[in-house]
Symmetry: C2
Subunit: 318 residues, 2 copies
């Protein structure tokens, strides 16, 4: 099956032609998530059109188009529900009509984290496992859960996506989500500067002169900075405790870590695997912890299985 | 539909005749959970037989027998998987064969917490809601989750049951489950004595002379004991943060609190409702928090819907 796929984030869109487990051709374009989705659609159409032409194909060579969107999505009705300050007009944009009129193709829409899990399940680190949790470490902590081969969605399409928003520190800081001491407000890209800066002895440490991000944290820790080492160890523990909570919540056999952070800290997966072995309650055996392998292609490669699953279950409204 | 139902706990079994949303007749018998399930079965059969006779019925007047069991259960195959130090022979007991030979009835088996949720859904506080999380506060913290009318089970039948085992205190004590700082190891019947005794100023407080259980905690707090008040408030916060985590995990519209503890602390539900309103991330609206209403009948009243659901989905192996 050939499909068009777009992984639509707040600052860029990764547009692609996919065929089964391969990305045939792709193009990343900058977008302005603080602006309008409706005004972004012509750029997306032009990018797809160029890709299709360059590949020597036409729109009607494709089964459909799939968009992985950076917000809450009602996949059964193909609508964006909530965008958390990105593309605020998205809930009012009729993407199905756009795809129908502009591309003459049916459109499927899903949350980008669920798409990434589906991609890893179909073509990456989760092949062969139908019970999988994915955690994506980046500016925030995202994720998705698959149970018995089905993406968990829940009544309001939030289930499985909020694993970064379980409280791991009941007396911690308030998270942007409203909850207290979430993993995301203790150990994610946006919260790291606060946590690091507030660590005892920070001012006298070597890290105090650097940018406060995970790349510099891991670098200073590796160079022997005691404060950076302690903050790194704390972040590892937050991620590991979150992994255990997600295992207890969704009962998977496999846990996948994705996101930019895992590339700057090679031992994350090993640390979490060891912590899970010691602290998760799984009398049936042991959950395997792995790195995602598809990188920026993960959500794109979720396109074909998303279409295939919806055709089998008639979930798509068309 | 008439069914026989047994809610089988570690220290007693609640045996009953149920018809649709009513318990027609029931009898609690003491059992020895530290002993053998196989050796307990004759007592269960005798108790059921007496109930049936007293009600003027015969075994073949019933659609089947349902057992809610205090451990991990494979409901699709009708087998106990893991018992956590209760009825250690249970995984080797063929309950289907017992019911077939002794009662000439088909048998369904499910985890007792899932049965309680199903009972509340069918006949209690969760009627009309298909997306529900139940938290049971007692010696431990149990629970279950229903999504779109289906009990969540997961690959190894653990999903939904371990909501008391998300870490809320990443630097806390090790829980009996192996994880660190679980809600259950911070604010449940078995852990309360440790938490209370270790609270600052405990030795000089009025509670120091009493039994350390929730009933006495709430009593001393109500009488103005500052330590008891602080510990009570801490427990409330643990339960409320757990409620938020479960909402983020399973995306319900309704959260039910059950278990003995809620009767000794009337304001638990109000406190959690207020905390959820302020701290849960639910852009679609607000999760309702309620007390369970069926008490010890909850698991029994799950019997009829369990049979009905399995007959519809052919999950039962018979």
């Amino acid at each position: 099956m050939k499909a068009l796929a777009i992984d639509l984030g707040g600052t860029h869109a990764n547009c692609a032609i996919v065929e089964d487990r391969s990305v045939l051709r792709s193009q990343v374009v900058s977008t302005d998530g603080s602006g309008s989705l409706a005004l972004t659609l012509p750029l997306l159409k032009q990018t797809l059109s160029d890709l299709v032409t360059d590949e020597g194909l036409r729109f009607d060579d494709f089964t459909g188009i799939v968009i992985g969107f950076c917000g809450l999505v009602d996949g059964t009705r193909g609508r964006v529900l909530s965008t958390n300050a990105k593309y605020e007009d998205a809930p009012r944009v009729d993407l199905q009509a756009w795809a129908d009129e502009q591309l003459n193709l049916p459109l499927w829409l899903e949350n980008d984290a669920r798409m990434a899990l589906l991609g890893e399940w179909y073509a990456g680190a989760a092949q062969g496992s139908d019970d999988v949790v994915m955690i994506t470490l980046g500016t925030g902590i995202g994720g998705a859960a698959m149970i018995n081969g089905h993406l968990l969605t829940g009544k309001h399409f939030q289930a499985g996506c909020l694993g970064g928003h379980f409280s791991v520190r009941i007396d911690g800081e308030r998270c942007t989500c409203g909850a207290i001491g979430c993993a995301e407000s203790e150990a994610a890209g946006w919260s790291l500067p606060r946590v690091w800066r507030n660590w005892p002895e920070f001012a006298a440490s070597s890290g105090a002169q650097s940018e406060l991000n995970f790349e510099s944290l891991f670098r200073h820790a590796a160079a022997g900075d005691a404060v950076a080492s302690a903050v790194r160890d704390y972040c590892f523990k937050v991620w590991a405790a979150t992994a255990v909570a997600l295992i207890h919540a969704y009962d998977p056999e496999l846990l996948i870590f994705g996101g930019g952070v895992i590339h700057s800290g090679k031992s994350i997966v090993n640390f979490v695997q060891d912590y899970v072995s010691r602290h998760a309650w799984t009398p049936w055996g042991e959950v395997q912890v792995r790195s995602a392998v598809l990188g920026n292609n993960a959500a794109l490669l979720g396109a074909v299985p998303l279409i295939a699953k919806s055709e089998r279950s008639n979930l798509n409204v068309r």
